[in-house]
Symmetry: C2
């Protein structure tokens, strides 16, 4: 099916700023609460949010096989389960409806009133009910930095790292959309030199710059997904801040992996940018440093060129961009992650989310966490307001942004913006 929605020459009759992440070539999907307190599925062009439930009720998706209530839901799971053919028909139709030459909605004031919203009239929700969330560890720069700091600089990568897209299961219930604040977690840590742990607030709260992809129903129990078919099952991507408490992690993670150090919160950008919209931004795969087993051997260009940055904004001060990285640096691709995840027959469903792991670039100003940027606190990061950061302070806001750009077309993710609040204080009851 032709991806006419990706046509770089198309203009919309809706206003789109020159540097917007959301031109008519993007057409992401999200879920929002409207000014009338109704939850609906929507998309966005420029700074206008579009109610797809209303568009559908008004007949604008006629001819596309959709159930009546497919967009009148509080998650995208059912729409995603409808599969790639349906996603494409809908994205192409949206592109047509908002094409500068199409007057069917443009000139219908009454319809526009129920379909279009200013961004300040809506409240973005979590776009999917996440059945399972998996986090990978697929940046070779990140794995090398961590291995260098905590193990052996000469053998920074563990023996399995170049053979396996290492991953582990995370917690779905604490994945939250941009804008929801997070409390500094409490927990057990082992002070330097001590033999008994102490209890208290984490002193080393960190972000991890990641992207996450969202899948559709992919396979039955027992059935692997071939690496070169894997993209068929990827609906789209979001920015992902995998909040981490380094001191809790250090004490708890042997032998079964990170747990409370990670599951207090992960924050995502609310608009899912489709893999279809990202097709013009494919990038070469990195050359494997060791021969990969056949089930992981992929055809060309499974990476994506997505510019990423993280800023820290202290309370009542301007933000400072602390790192700039790129999703193209991933050693293991999303296709390899999905092939590996299912090689044992593990079922993948609509709404599952898979994080990339921290995306560090090759240079010290492109590392994807404060742990690496401050080199575990040895090199504090200077802020515009004159303060320094080794990790994240109470009341700091962490902002991640990402976009692709090529030949004058920019497709972006918006941002994921999260304030770190002090430790949770239980409400006093009389």
């Amino acid at each position: 099916m032709p991806l006419s929605a990706n046509n770089p020459d198309r203009k919309s009759w809706l206003h789109v700023d020159k540097n917007s992440d959301f031109p008519i070539q993007n057409i992401p999907f999200g879920v929002f609460l409207t000014r009338d307190d109704i939850i609906t599925i929507g998309t966005r062009i420029g700074d206008t949010a579009i109610d797809l439930g209303a568009l559908h009720q008004l007949g604008y998706f006629e001819g596309i096989p959709l159930t009546d209530d497919i967009f009148l839901q509080d998650t995208l799971n059912d729409f995603i389960a409808d599969g790639r053919k349906t996603w494409r028909l809908v994205r192409n139709r949206i592109a047509e409806i908002f094409d500068a030459d199409n007057t069917s909605l443009k000139d219908n004031v009454k319809n526009k009133e129920v379909v279009l919203f200013r961004l300040d009239e809506i409240e973005m929700q979590l776009p999917v009910q996440i059945g399972d969330y998996t986090d990978f560890y697929s940046s070779i720069e990140h794995a090398t930095n961590v291995g260098t700091m905590f193990r052996d600089p000469d053998n920074a990568l563990l023996p399995n790292w170049l053979h396996i897209p290492v991953g582990y299961h995370g917690r779905s219930s604490s994945i939250i959309p941009s804008g929801i604040p997070v409390h500094r977690p409490q927990g057990q840590t082992l002070p330097a030199g001590a033999t008994e742990p102490v209890f208290g607030p984490s002193k080393l709260v960190d972000f991890e710059l990641e992207m996450a992809f969202i899948t559709t129903d992919a396979n039955d129990l027992g059935e692997p997904i071939p690496v070169n078919e894997a993209e068929e099952y990827i609906f789209g991507l979001v920015l992902f801040n995998d909040w981490s408490a380094r001191d809790i992690q250090k004490w708890e993670y042997i032998p079964l992996g990170p747990f409370l150090a990670k599951n207090f919160a992960s924050s995502i950008s609310p608009w899912i940018v489709t893999l279809d919209a990202l097709q013009p931004f494919k990038a070469d795969n990195p050359k494997p440093l060791k021969k990969q087993l056949p089930y992981l051997q992929q055809s060309a260009k499974k990476n994506y060129d997505i510019n990423l940055e993280v800023a820290i904004q202290p309370e009542k001060a301007k933000e400072t961009v602390v790192t700039r990285s790129n999703f193209k640096h991933m050693y293991w691709s999303m296709s390899q992650q999905l092939a590996h995840h299912t090689i044992n027959g593990c079922p993948v469903n609509s709404g599952d989310m898979m994080g990339s792991g921290t995306i560090s670039g090759p240079t010290p100003d492109s590392y994807g966490s404060m742990l690496e940027l401050s080199w575990r606190g040895e090199k504090p990061v200077k802020m515009q307001d004159g303060t320094e950061r080794k990790f994240i302070n109470d009341n700091d806001t962490v902002i991640m942004r990402g976009y692709c750009e090529k030949d004058g077309t920019r497709i972006g993710f918006g941002e994921v913006k999260t304030k770190l609040l002090p430790v949770f204080e239980p409400k006093k009851t009389k």
Copy 2:
């Protein structure tokens, strides 16, 4: 509220075998497909399955605040979210309806026809949509055995083990009810002495004898659950077989924990036995071997005395019971697990599932996995049919059973029974 459903003197007008796991004092909850291909929520007394959706429509729950469709659902999540007070009202009412002295349903042939089913007329389903699944590692005997085999017999427990109810996230999508077969997983393993991994079927497929508890909506993001309130949020328990591929695990698990070695399948018994029904079988907590941090210090009797056994049934042969253990051996209780899981503010929701970890007893005939029973293959386990097992063979069926017994009342879980099939062969397409 009095737990009249637990009255040990009550008899039912439904037939109950002397050794049944499901006397009228049990009243578990499950989801089944009826002879009319309808999915409903039900309970079980003796060998009779009871359609709670039909009972509700016929007015038998009058006076209890329940939505009309609460039992006409394909999962128990909404009912569980209604909270403990509602569960108790419903269990008490079911006990009254089926009390030997109550004729309201007993003498109504027409109503009985739509409410009661023989077990061979129904097909048990997964009872909940599992939002998140966590697995703990809370048996000191199991942790000691594993540490002795793979690390250092003199320091078998890792430094954090006596301070933390160690846990990690697992995969919800591959949790299946009793009766669904599992394929032997394929994956990467590192042969002894090799430096490069090979790909193929796991040679060391194992069961893990566990129990799992199911929670209700417990807390908001940021809010910990106090250890001595934790049981308020536990709906009930099931038997849990945490299938494991030991060779895949060994190669993949450092540093982020088990992944493909576990997520190919976990099997559960389909009837959730409520924590209320288990109250007569409370057991003392084990004495802590190290002082526990205040948030883990619990009042008395948070353990439960539940007899457990595992049998292996080779194809076309009789089963052999290979181990007998007990849930009371757990070093860390469910209350401590839940308090630890939420001390950082991680939200726990209705339908979440938490596994105990392998439940090994103190003697070699009470270990909870073949890894321990055969001491990593050094001591093969003899079967009734003359064969031996180090791990699980293709076409073996693994059966777990569990029950409590005291003063003539027996409350049981039935069984979780799963056949291990050979490696999955993709269907040939023309």
